[in-house]
Point group: C2
């Protein structure tokens, strides 16, 4: 199937039709299978995937098999008739910083005379908690945030709309099966707990972030909105996408599974107002999904159904592979030009960003994961 | 009533009896009023306060009046028969850093040759998101976390149990009424959104935190456990506790309501293995509850029912008023001795910490807010 949503994909989402209730569905081509109607199972008569996710990997596997047998003959809801909703009730949201190229670029932009990476960067996947309550589904407009900004040459902060509104193209991982408080999830436990992946745009107000983030990290520069795709691609649909990641130096501590760092060969494409501005490759990330999960829980922090952890900005080694406008415009100092001849640094009101993701399919060809779109609205 | 849980207090919690269902209750003296049994209202036949909190301030006010008329004649569940549970299903958890004395102490301990405060500290209430899924009720044992630690004189990090396990005595604020994404909650909106307060212990692994926190803030050094009291004291019970906070210099930006910084005269007492080690005063905090709420939402971040935001460590200006062992032992360099003659720096396995809170009552005397207790268990 040419759409990228064929039998080897079958991602899960939440939809409604004509103001009806929200239900769990699976996308197949340009249609949606109503899973409650098709199976009668109560976990699909829900406004989020959480009840299904909580059932664990054996049920996920059986359901995927069952759905594959149903979709061809089923009466699908036309995608054009479906309203797509946030697929997951997000429990905790954690954002990592797992791209060496991104972290190096940011370090060079902000600390041109210092070391690009902090001393801890190559020893652990740095992460922090973001705001779960402002994770929104693709298509939700993003209001330009206001707050305190202070440029280095200003003597005091001022209040006003962000002047350096940015995106971060990321991949999100959705936790299905919980873990016990006080116990670490081992490196090998990824598929026991993670159900699937979504595209993710971690909208960022760089001026607010720069003023607030020392010493306790990003807060209001990030918490106004994080967009995810309406479709969650099961890990099972990505069997053909696993690749070896670049070598890690120094070798990380044993709990991070050194020597077995497998990543996903997911191609990312960032469009600004319909023009492609970057093509970041997820396969060049430094820290792997399994390492992020092992680190997140090494202190005994428990997982809940609906937890979401993200990769951090995906940037590759080439200039055309940068996952944020901060990097594409090198801190705003080097405007870049899109195919329509317009020049850009950070986001203007009315700008629309679409991030697309694709991966090798198990049956050959590629699957097209759910896109993440958002338009910037002027500050209130 | 001498217990501090008289008619002018009436805090809310969640309890069960003999393995029965969790229900909402109000504490009166040494008993618990079963609110579902007493009123028949469905929002009390719930395993958390959230359904009640979502109903908003007018319902909170009416319910408080109704309960005051019921408790004296009602058949209360003896407190000794009730198992107390986490009162709130926590949505997002935000931790601030609002004590000038605490921030100054930490700055002096970690950066003895630099400025104690970062340049932003007096301009905004610094905060960050913590892990909502590991907020636990008082009495829950706390397993010593393991993770990466690196002392300044070590060349590489090692994995192992934290050697600098600490507490942070804080006050938590529970959000009841939500707000709209994209809209800021004004400074004057505290009582429209915040239902009440709890005691809070933000357990901290200082060695894990010190190695991980640059540049994205605390993560695993905090995310293993945060304890709150089983009883949520309504703001309405604290009418007599409001006081002017110390002057703020420089005057903050208008959205932070300069000149109207009102805080709460809540007395905190920290006990280690039954010995009082500190008495932090909440009335000396720099940033007020209303300022924390206004700042949290100034970028349009929405509030959800069950959001919890905390003050950060409460430390007063005197050595006997410090709210963490980091400060009480001055970075571990100056052990302190408790009344039983034992010497302490950070927490040992088996140590039990109890934090108690009290405030002036509207009818004179004091109310005793729910305590926050926890015992340290050895690392797994």
């Amino acid at each position: 199937m040419s759409s990228g949503f064929g039998i080897d994909h079958l991602p899960y989402g939440v939809f409604s039709v004509a103001g009806g209730p929200r239900r769990v569905g699976v996308r197949y081509g340009n249609g949606v299978l109503d899973l409650h109607a098709a199976t009668g199972r109560p976990e699909f008569d829900q406004p989020s995937l959480n009840a299904f996710l909580a059932l664990g990997p054996e049920v996920w596997r059986q359901t995927r098999e069952e759905v594959a047998g149903l979709v061809e003959a089923a009466d699908l809801v036309p995608l054009a008739d479906a309203v797509l909703h946030l697929p997951v009730e997000v429990a905790d949201y954690v954002d990592f910083y797992a791209s060496l190229d991104h972290a190096s670029n940011v370090g060079r932009i902000f600390r041109p005379d210092g070391e690009a990476l902090t001393p801890n960067w190559r020893h652990l996947p740095i992460g922090y908690h973001g705001r779960a309550g402002t994770v929104v589904v693709s298509g939700t407009p993003v209001t330009r945030p206001s707050g305190q900004r202070k440029a280095p040459d200003e003597t005091a902060p001022t209040y006003g709309p962000s002047r350096r509104l940015d995106i971060e193209a990321e991949l999100g991982f959705v936790v299905g099966a919980p873990s016990e408080l006080g116990s670490a999830v081992p490196f090998a436990g990824l598929a026991d707990h993670v159900f699937g992946v979504t595209g993710l745009n971690d909208w960022s107000a760089r001026d607010i972030q720069a003023w607030e983030y020392v010493p306790l990290g990003p807060f209001l520069g990030k918490s106004f909105a994080t967009s995810i795709s309406p479709w969650v691609t099961p890990l099972a649909a990505l069997d053909a996408a696993w690749v070896d990641l670049p070598e890690q130096d120094p070798v990380p501590l044993p709990y991070l599974g050194p020597g077995a760092t497998r990543g996903l060969d997911i191609a990312v494409q960032i469009e600004l107002n319909g023009e492609v501005v970057s093509r970041p490759p997820y396969r060049t990330m430094y820290w792997s999904p399994a390492q992020m999960l092992a680190h997140l829980t090494v202190n005994g922090a428990s997982l809940r159904t609906g937890d979401l952890f993200a990769s951090g900005t995906i940037s590759g080694p080439e200039p055309g592979q940068r996952g944020s406008f901060l990097e594409l415009s090198w801190g705003g100092k080097e405007p870049f030009t899109t195919g329509d001849g317009t020049s850009h640094t950070f986001l203007e009101d009315g700008d629309e960003v679409v991030i697309r993701y694709s991966a090798p399919a198990t049956g050959g060809g590629r699957i097209a994961m759910g896109e993440v779109a958002g338009r910037v609205e002027r500050a209130r």
